[in-house]
């Protein structure tokens, strides 16, 4: 079966992001960019499906300015067969991303679409669910295990009280949670080979998708600081303070 993996270029997870001085956005100049960690897990899952003989082809898709090709090459080095970039000047919001991905899904007709559950920049956790809605197919969000049967997929999902398993009719969308797998690193020979793999480029116009952002960012600010309290010398002092000063136990 054919697997489509959608990936996103984001600020590296080790970078501590700060608002710009004028509060208009976050400071992204000279900041290290990487593949979103949940998207790494998505690529890894697709590669494992191919290694198991379940998947026949893996297509990696990303949306954004030209530089997202770096992350697509990473996905190719990890094992994707070919890549598609949808080039946009700015970064569309999740609904716009979902519409572009829906257009790619219509072109490619994948059996399974895997995405990260959220990107660590916007923390929206929307795109996979939105794509499933637009495509009119099922969704297995926050997946910690997937098993492909003939024309169905069993997805074990991380829900608030534990785990839930659902069966979805294929094609379907899966979004990855942290425990689905542990992604591998790309080897140097594979990084070299990835440079020769095909990468197609489309624009939103090519896909007949009209992008309009309806949510605007008014300002960004650092979160309210919490003041550090006091150090206590012993467990007895701690219990005394909690009982008599904070009165919480």
């Amino acid at each position: 079966m054919k697997v489509l993996v959608a990936i996103k270029r984001v600020v590296d997870y080790n970078v501590k992001v700060r608002p710009k001085a004028d509060g208009s956005d976050v400071e992204l100049n000279n900041v290290k960019m990487s593949l979103n960690p949940f998207c790494e897990i998505a690529v890894e899952e697709a590669v494992r499906l191919k290694e198991a003989g379940t998947a026949s082809e893996i297509i990696a898709v990303s949306i954004g300015p030209k530089v997202v090709q770096e992350q697509l090459r990473t996905a190719l080095a990890l094992g994707a067969d070919r890549a598609i970039m949808v080039e946009t000047d700015s970064e569309p919001q999740p609904l716009g991303v979902a519409k572009l991905l829906k257009a790619i899904v219509d072109k490619e007709s994948p059996d399974l679409i895997i995405l990260g559950k959220q990107s660590i920049d916007g923390d929206n956790n929307q795109t996979g669910q939105m794509l499933a809605a637009l495509a009119g197919i099922g969704q297995g969000t926050f997946a910690s295990n997937i098993e492909v049967a003939d024309s169905t997929l069993n997805v074990t999902r991380e829900v608030d009280g534990g785990l839930q398993t659902v069966t979805l009719t294929l094609p379907a969308v899966v979004t990855t949670d942290l425990r689905l797998n542990e992604p591998r690193y790309a080897s140097l020979p594979n990084i070299m080979k990835a440079k020769k793999k095909p990468l197609d480029i489309f624009t939103p116009d090519d896909l007949a998708v009209n992008l309009t952002n309806t949510v605007s960012m008014i300002k960004v600010e650092p979160p309210a600081e919490r003041q550090a309290g006091i150090k206590v010398a012993s467990v007895d002092e701690l219990v005394e303070k909690l009982k008599n000063e904070a009165k919480v136990i």
């Binding site: 600020v11 501590k16 992001v17 976050v26 999740p94 609904l95 716009g96 660590i120 920049d121 923390d123 929206n124 929307q126 996979g128 669910q129 939105m130 794509l131 809605a133 637009l134 099922g138 969704q139 969000t141 926050f142 991380e158 829900v159 608030d160 009280g161 534990g162 785990l163 398993t165 659902v166 979805l168 009719t169 949670d177 942290l178 425990r179 309806t214 949510v215 605007s216 960012m217 008014i218 300002k219 960004v220 650092p222 979160p223 919490r226 550090a228 309290g229 006091i230 150090k231 206590v232 012993s234 467990v235 007895d236 701690l238 219990v239 303070k241 909690l242 904070a246 919480v248 136990i249």
Partner: protein, 309 residues
């Protein structure tokens, strides 16, 4: 203005996060209706009708809604949304699963996990794992929003007297079905609803040592949590994770044991009323947010704490 709030419930009872979400809806203004979609969910519906500030409760009671399958519930909510100016849900696992599907069907750019209502179209929400708070404005005619429950007080669970209406439409997308679930069975309060939470981190060293946390949690009638490091290391199951990618908690007392205080974790607990940190590293970042810090070896401190309580 009229607002539809999707209730979080387990058919038998309404979950607390629903009451916090009603507060957010009241801040936007207008008539608040609660949707209770489930199977044999009359009891949850009755609780919904008693909640303060709710004008009407819609009950969709059908087997297709039994396990909160997103495909079926989103179909129902999308139909109902025609009559409302906004659709809100708590940012629980269900809310996050269902609401983006509704938003896309309505061609609306959803707003995730708002933490304050500035006006009927402007909200604050955390981005970059809570390192930054964004103020965002939506020009969509209809708003679709998930609400971070811990950022809003709960409305009173009693005193309301809403009209109750049974819906007879059934939306079954036919593309998903429930197989099984494994829910953690515990006598403890639920993590996101507990008054006291005791959490362990990488410093616990292994899963067995969480027995020390358990003993203290038992004495305090507390829920047990964990940092992502402890979950990733396999010490404890995922549903115990407190943090930006896990559960967001705001109890009266949060005790962090052997947790260094990565921003990821702080984002999930820093709204707690009182924070206690126990860590042997006196430079651990957790101390910068703790009201009471104890620099100590947790393997000595936890048994002492157990004995002192």
């Amino acid at each position: 203005m009229s607002i539809l709030v999707i209730a979080e419930h387990d058919n038998a009872s309404l979950k607390g996060a629903t009451l916090n979400t009603v507060t957010a809806a009241l801040a936007m203004g207008g008539d608040i209706h609660l949707l209770v979609a489930g199977s044999d969910c009359a009891a949850a519906g009755a609780e919904a009708a008693a909640a303060h500030g709710v004008a009407k409760v819609l009950i969709a009671d059908n087997a297709v809604y039994a396990h909160q399958l997103a495909e079926n519930i989103a179909g129902l909510v999308t139909e109902l949304a025609a009559d409302y100016d906004a659709v809100l849900a708590p940012a629980t696992g269900n809310g996050k699963n269902i609401l983006p599907r509704v938003a896309a069907s309505l061609d609306v750019q959803m707003l995730s996990e708002i933490i304050s209502v500035e006006s009927a179209d402007t909200f604050k929400r955390p981005i970059y794992a809570g390192n930054v708070i964004a103020t965002v404005q939506s020009t969509d005619a209809k708003k679709v929003i998930t609400v971070r429950a811990t950022a809003f007080d709960a409305v009173s669970a009693s005193g309301g007297n809403a009209d109750v209406v049974s819906l007879d439409q059934v939306t079954d997308a036919g593309v998903s079905s429930f197989v099984s679930e494994e829910l953690a069975v515990s006598d403890r309060p639920e993590l996101t609803a507990a008054n006291i939470v005791v959490s362990g981190g990488r410093g616990m060293q292994n899963g067995d040592n969480f027995k020390l946390i358990e003993a203290v949690a038992d004495k305090l009638n507390a829920a047990m949590g964990a940092s992502r490091a402890a979950v990733d290391a396999g010490f404890v199951p995922n549903d115990m994770q407190v943090g930006q990618t896990g559960k967001i908690v705001a109890p009266d007392l949060y005790v962090a044991v052997g947790i260094s205080g990565a921003i990821q974790h702080l984002a999930g607990m820093k709204d707690s009323k009182v924070i206690v940190a126990i860590n042997k590293d006196e430079d651990a970042p957790i101390f910068s947010v703790a009201d009471y810090g104890l620099v100590a070896d947790l393997f000595v401190a936890l048994p002492e704490l157990d004995a002192a309580l």
